[in-house]
């Protein structure tokens, strides 16, 4: 087993690392410490740069115009892209683009024309509407939003909670119950247009994050064409489940990137900072924190790369993805917490990024399935049929 980077990986990772240090970090000197957006001219300038680098739209399949980069390398790049103040939830402020809603790659040609291609061209935005006030980790049971057939249309009533980007979206993927007796086999994914009567963004949900927020949605007799079913009727759960599993790998990678940056800052700081006549770096308590950080980071990185490798090879990676999400989010929280401790008062001030990472990292243990759900997924994989 060769754990070394290939020359190509080394080259690409170096490009992204320089981009973060030379383009993103200087801008953050002037942005609000909680900002998650660049000013428009900066965004356009840097997006043009990532296109020149051939790294725009990393998660877009090559047949749709994305660069042909494997998932392990993309995971390593996600680790690099998150190594700045806003990096956890806005890696490089979106200047590397994204796949938008990857589920649309499986859409019908008509749906692709209407939603996927405009999204890839940057003309439309979409949102992913799964979680409801009744829960998000167990969508098969929690989904209460209902869709009822009416001629060639479906009429949707209900609501969603914790939905990112719905207030700025042109369309969204909304999961609704189409058969009340079938549990996970009674959920369908609809593509809904946000300008339709009956689509409402009721409020912003304020959280520990200041800039990036979630929304609460309400659907009142929202009419959707039968042609806007994504995939098959009553097979929406598989779409949701696939998305949840895949999302765990970049989610983990972002936490690792922030942890690496926090540790780098601590390693630079502790030899300089003196207490009682000696540098902090000479104190065993500080050394042990740095050692524990290093171990946390390495464990999280290798587990996450293993998940990416399995996914890349087309193997089942459900257990590994859950483990990566669990380990990286918890390790990331511990690393940032220790680094804050080493920086003392400076660690909690908005002058440095630790306080933002601390708040945002706490969300990571809940978002995309909390730690307990990841353990549940892993236990089911380990114990298999004996649990059922």
């Amino acid at each position: 087993m060769d754990l070394n980077l290939t020359p190509e990986q080394d080259l690409i990772i170096g490009m992204v690392r320089r981009f973060v240090r030379e383009e993103i970090l200087p801008l953050e000197q002037y942005l609000d410490p909680d900002a998650d957006e660049l000013e428009e001219d900066d965004r356009q300038r840097l997006t043009a740069k990532t296109r020149e680098m051939g790294l725009y739209g990393l998660d877009i399949p090559p047949e749709y115009g994305g660069p042909d980069i494997d998932l392990v390398t993309r995971t390593l790049l996600a680790v690099e892209m998150s190594q700045h103040r806003a990096g956890l939830y806005a890696p490089c402020y979106g200047t590397f683009g994204g796949a938008g809603l990857a589920q649309l790659f499986e859409a019908t040609e008509q749906q692709k024309e209407q939603y996927l291609y405009p999204t890839l061209r940057g003309e439309k935005r979409g949102f992913f509407g799964l979680s409801e006030p009744s829960g998000g980790s167990d969508p098969a049971r929690a989904i209460q939003t209902k869709a009822v057939r009416d001629g060639d249309d479906w009429v949707i009533n209900g609501g969603k909670l914790w939905i990112s980007g719905a207030d700025k979206a042109d369309f969204g993927l909304v999961f609704a119950r189409t058969d009340t007796d079938q549990g996970r086999n009674g959920v369908t994914c609809f593509i809904v247009d946000t300008d339709q009567p009956g689509f409402h963004v009721r409020r912003i949900v304020h959280t520990l994050r200041s800039a990036h927020y979630a929304t609460e949605l309400q659907f009142e007799d929202l009419r959707v064409s039968n042609d806007n079913i994504l995939g098959q009727l009553n097979k929406g759960f598989a779409i949701a489940n696939d998305r949840l599993t895949r999302q765990r790998i970049p989610y983990a990678a972002g936490c690792i990137g922030v942890a690496i940056k926090a540790q780098e800052m601590a390693l630079e700081y502790v030899p300089q900072r003196e207490t009682f006549g000696a540098p902090l770096s000479t104190r065993q308590s500080i050394q042990w924190m740095l050692v524990d950080n290093d171990i946390d980071i390495r464990q999280a990185l290798w587990i996450t790369l293993e998940a990416a490798s399995k996914a890349q090879q087309g193997e089942s990676f459900r257990k590994e993805a859950a483990m990566a999400k669990l380990v990286a989010t918890e390790a990331g929280g511990r690393v940032v917490d220790r680094c804050m401790q080493m920086f003392g008062g400076l660690g909690v001030a908005k002058d440095l990024p630790f306080e933002r990472w601390y708040r945002e990292m706490r969300i990571r243990r809940i978002g995309e399935g909390p730690s307990e759900v990841q353990r549940h997924v892993i236990a089911r994989e380990l114990l298999g049929a004996s649990l059922r």
Partner: protein
């Protein structure tokens, strides 16, 4: 925290005497109570709300009332208040033009709570 900013309106002088250096959002209104300006005091604001309000009052002619809300979620709250104003009035008050906004449709229509 409700959807709307429901803190009492204060005269400019009252506000400057009361407000301190926390982070938060604020609105300035004219004599008729029409909101003419909205902004926030964030992590880089000199003097927090007090500094930002004092500066805005020198720049916004016609402002004679102030209300503010202390919050660490100043960016999302600022955007929410702007979107709410847009939904209720169809136009935006003066604000940072670089802020990209979505749209809200509050429950009960424009006057709902």
């Amino acid at each position: 925290m409700g959807l709307r900013l429901t803190k009492p309106w204060l005269s400019n002088e009252q506000a400057l005497a009361k407000v301190r250096g926390q982070m938060g959002v604020y609105q300035l209104a004219d004599a008729d109570g029409e909101v003419i300006f909205m902004s926030y005091a964030g992590g880089r604001s000199l003097g927090g709300l007090r500094g930002e309000i004092a500066r805005s009052l020198t720049e916004q002619a016609g402002a004679c009332q102030v209300r503010y809300e202390i919050t660490t979620s100043y960016l999302s709250r600022y955007k929410e208040l702007l979107m709410l104003h847009q939904a209720e009035h169809g136009v935006l008050p003066t604000h940072d033009p670089k802020v990209r906004l979505g749209r809200l449709s509050p429950a009960g229509g424009a006057n709902g709570s």
